[in-house]
Symmetry: C2
Subunit: 131 residues, 2 copies
DNA sequence: CATCTGTTATATCATTCATATAACAGCACC
DNA sequence: GGTGCTGTTATATGAATGATATAACAGATG
């Protein structure tokens, strides 16, 4: 898994890290049961502090994307049926759609955008589980 | 326009203010040409500092939701064809859809969610410009 | 001239982000 | 049993951000 951090971004490093791991899971680059590099190893690889990685892992754990085994480290384990996640997702989508409506984007525009991005993600997957 | 700030939220006050004004425009509670309260008046109304309101207005101006007239204050004026806005919107949607895919949500699930929220926004509008 | 507007300049305080050093407990391997 | 790897916790520091406060300025309105 290749991680790329933009240090000049206004987005926090731990947040970028979370997003890229979630993206990895979404595109099946990371699959159920796959181990993540240890906090120290990941920190070395991308040149950041151990605690920043640890913060990202802790959040991923809380949000149900990984489980942490004390001896083996962080392992991809997605909690699919988390209601909190879906509720938060809808809240975020509401903010996004408010902006979209201000820009005169129609439902169809949004549907198309969703499809395009899903196509994109499934392309990376190579095979399987198109929905 | 009724503004409600959650002071215990982790979301910044100026950010909440921006979001609610954008939501107001999306639901036609605020329409093209409508004036926003002056920075001092708005600050008094919701019990926050003038500079926090000013920060929100400045961002709304930069992102093309209002224009600021020195003598009349901030006025709703939406820049519909801003490419930057659409690009940023797609970036945000990508992050959101990555999470959605991890939760096993299908394209149809997302389409339905978009439609529901749009229904909701158009309900508030009362009439006109359904898309 | 008084009063409203946005805007700018400082300053202060709390919180967050990222860093650093250090230590601890659990497990695996030799 | 010691070495080396995990995550985890504690504490500290420096930079940046968020929100506040006081103050002033330029432009427009009455």
């Amino acid at each position: 898994m290749l991680i790329k951090i933009d240090f000049s971004s206004d987005e926090a490093i731990y947040q970028q890290l979370c997003n890229q791991i979630i993206l990895g899971i979404a595109t099946a680059t990371l699959e159920e049961g796959d181990p993540l590099p240890s906090v120290r190893q990941m920190a070395d690889e991308i040149g950041i502090n151990m605690h920043t990685v640890n913060k990202a892992y802790t959040i991923l754990k809380q949000e149900g994307f990984v489980k942490v085994d004390r001896r083996r480290g962080a392992i991809v384990s997605v909690d699919v049926d988390t209601l909190r996640a879906r509720a938060q997702l809808e809240k975020d989508l509401r903010k996004l759609l408010a902006q979209a409506r201000c820009r005169n984007m129609s439902r169809q525009d949004l549907h198309r955008m969703v499809d395009d991005i899903y196509d994109d993600y499934e392309l990376v997957c190579g095979t399987g589980h198109e929905v």
